[in-house]
């Protein structure tokens, strides 16, 4: 064996540098994977469908710059964000157990936290690519149909990216919770695509309290920032009830600081718990 000539006294890189190594290689794996191209196709398809809708300009599609972006982007970008987080984060950690790739990387002089953070950044970069593609299509539409890009769109884009950061942290948490890729993906998808929206609806309609504990409520600021003026925090309207009585219906809109705080808390809490879970999880 000729490799005997090498000395093994080399210094192991720092944890941040090692996280960077994991990011680089996980990203390479993502970019070559089928799922990357499937999600890219879905993102482009959503963009193309919205382009067709914008072309025919149904009545609900406003002709003002802000209104156009609010309808085109404000409704759909959250869906792209959630899909990206599910595709890249849903099994990022559970896959290490189920596919046994963890047996290749973990028994090395590297902290598990470096692996977790490295994979998280890779998922963030891959998901950001999807947001960028969707943004390009949105801006292309805006320039063609309303000849401009309002500054609020920049804010909305920034909030979308912050939402992505929070949702990815959330999916990584579920990915750390389970050892099965399919279960972690399924649970993340059901929660983000169905349960949160349903709970939001039930709470606002029937309990009539502000759903400040739901991440999708915080993410409302993505669309709200494109409204002029910014929607009030709470609106109440009176409406006739089933038995002829008058009932008060409240609607809530997260303010920008509130939305950012909700997403920030989701990010921090799920990141910390997810990391602890991965640190403690056993390969058996």
């Amino acid at each position: 064996m000729t490799q005997k000539n090498f000395e093994s006294k080399n210094t192991v890189p720092g944890s941040i540098a090692q996280a960077g190594i994991i990011t680089k290689n996980t990203l390479l794996d993502y970019i070559r994977s089928r799922r990357f191209y499937i999600l890219l196709s879905i993102t482009v398809l959503i963009g193309l469908l919205l382009t067709i809708v914008a072309y025919y300009r149904p009545q609900f599609f406003p002709s003002s710059e802000l209104g156009f972006y609010s309808t085109w982007w404000g409704i759909s970008v959250s869906f792209v964000v959630v899909l990206s987080a599910i595709f890249f984060g849903g099994d990022a950690i559970s896959g290490e157990f189920q596919n046994k790739t963890g047996y290749f990387g973990v028994p090395n002089p590297i902290r598990r936290s470096s692996i977790y953070v490295g994979k998280w950044f890779a998922a963030l970069i891959a998901s950001t690519v999807m947001i960028v593609v969707f943004t390009v299509i949105a801006v292309g539409n805006g320039l063609y149909f309303v000849s401009g890009v309002p500054y609020q769109f920049g804010e909305s884009l920034l909030f979308s990216w912050i939402y992505l950061v929070a949702v990815l942290s959330f999916t990584f948490f579920f990915s750390s919770l389970f050892k099965s890729s399919s279960i972690s993906i399924l649970v993340s998808a059901i929660l983000l695509l169905v349960v949160f929206s349903l709970v939001n609806e039930i709470i606002v309609r029937f309990v009539q309290i502000e759903p400040w504990f739901l991440i999708n409520y915080g993410a409302q600021i993505i669309g709200s920032v494109l409204a002029s003026p910014y929607p009030p925090h709470q609106t109440s309207v009176s409406a006739p009830g089933f038995r002829g009585e008058t009932v008060q219906i409240n609607t809530f809109n997260a303010s920008i600081p509130e939305g950012l705080a909700i997403m920030g808390i989701y990010f921090a809490v799920t990141a910390i718990i997810g990391l602890i879970l991965f640190e403690r999880k056993e390969f058996n």
Partner: protein
């Protein structure tokens, strides 16, 4: 001098004890076989030495450093192969091994050369730039062995390293392990294959039901626990007078027993190594009784293993 040490190492899953107060210190440059039946705690032990699982109690120390509190330091010069790892399917061996080389701190200038050398060592040169997703289990196992060799580790922890390999691959891996011995390395490998351990290892640690049964040099274990017997089976082309044959063979020096299996097959037990085995073959051929086969039926290590494991049942 590289060392590994288990101090009261225990792993418990609810009421099931996978490993019970293992105390074992191995140091020096040698190859130690880790033997035991399925579920005895071999892989559990190796996983605790590589941070794949955490001990319920006790410590796993590598070169005196606790793997669980100072993992980076403890595993800085350790090559590992635990179970059959998978590699990210879309990476090539070059990319996957470069990633491990980077993690282990192989300098940039040496990285490419080292990766190519370890790939050559496991005879996978022509696959170095092909994606791993298309590889067979055996091919992946070779790449994982190559990964364990990166950065010239002073300690190798190998869990059944020939699993999944074809006979040629198994032989090549044994040759690699033999070539690594005596190069200031400690090799600790688990295996089910007693012949492999006899062939490759200097010492053996035997574990059963989560407890260490014995740890000693291979000659000491076999002489203490096997009764010193090796057994060969002799096949004949035609039946012979079994009484005369067995009495003749029994009269030879170092032969402890000779018995008939059937009309054309006999079993000979003897004390000693390959030289005695060769002498018996020469003698039996001289009898001109139509010998057509002569093969080991069991080894001293197998005898010792079976006696020790049976004793704990």
């Amino acid at each position: 001098m590289p060392s590994i040490e288990a101090v009261n190492l225990t792993k418990q899953y609810g009421s099931f004890i996978a490993l019970s107060n293992l105390n074992l210190k191995i140091e020096g440059t040698k190859c130690v076989g880790f033997l035991g039946p399925n579920g005895s705690g071999k892989t559990t032990t190796l996983k605790m030495f590589t941070d794949l699982i955490r001990p319920s109690k006790g410590e796993a120390l590598i070169n005196g450093v606790n793997v669980h509190t100072q993992k980076k330091k403890a595993l800085a010069s350790v090559g590992t192969l635990i179970e059959t790892p998978e590699i990210y399917a879309s990476l090539t061996p070059r990319e996957a091994l470069t990633m491990i080389a980077e993690i282990r701190g192989v300098p940039h200038a040496e990285r490419k050369k080292q990766v190519e050398e370890v790939v050559a060592e496991v005879r996978m040169e022509e696959w170095i730039d092909k994606r791993v997703g298309r590889f067979s289990k055996g091919m992946k196992q070779r790449i994982c062995i190559a990964s364990a060799l990166l950065n010239n580790p002073t300690l190798l922890l190998l869990d059944e390293p020939t699993t999944g390999l074809d006979p040629r691959g198994m032989s090549e891996v044994r040759d690699i392990i033999k070539s690594l011995k005596g190069k200031n390395r400690l090799i600790f490998m688990s295996s089910h294959l007693l012949g492999e351990v006899s062939d490759v290892c200097d010492e053996v640690a035997l574990i059963d039901h989560g407890k260490l049964i014995v740890y000693d040099t291979l000659p000491n274990v076999t002489s203490k626990f096997s009764g010193g017997n090796n057994v060969v089976e002799v096949g004949l082309v035609r039946p012979v007078d079994s009484k005369i044959l067995t009495q003749t063979i029994k009269s030879w020096s170092d032969v402890t027993n000779a018995e008939k299996i059937d009309d054309k097959n006999y079993k000979i037990s003897f004390v000693g190594g390959l030289e005695v085995q060769e002498r018996i073959l020469n003698e039996i051929v001289k009898l001109n009784i139509g010998v057509i086969s002569y093969k080991p039926a069991s080894s001293e290590l197998e005898d010792a293993y079976l006696k020790l494991i049976t004793a704990t049942l």
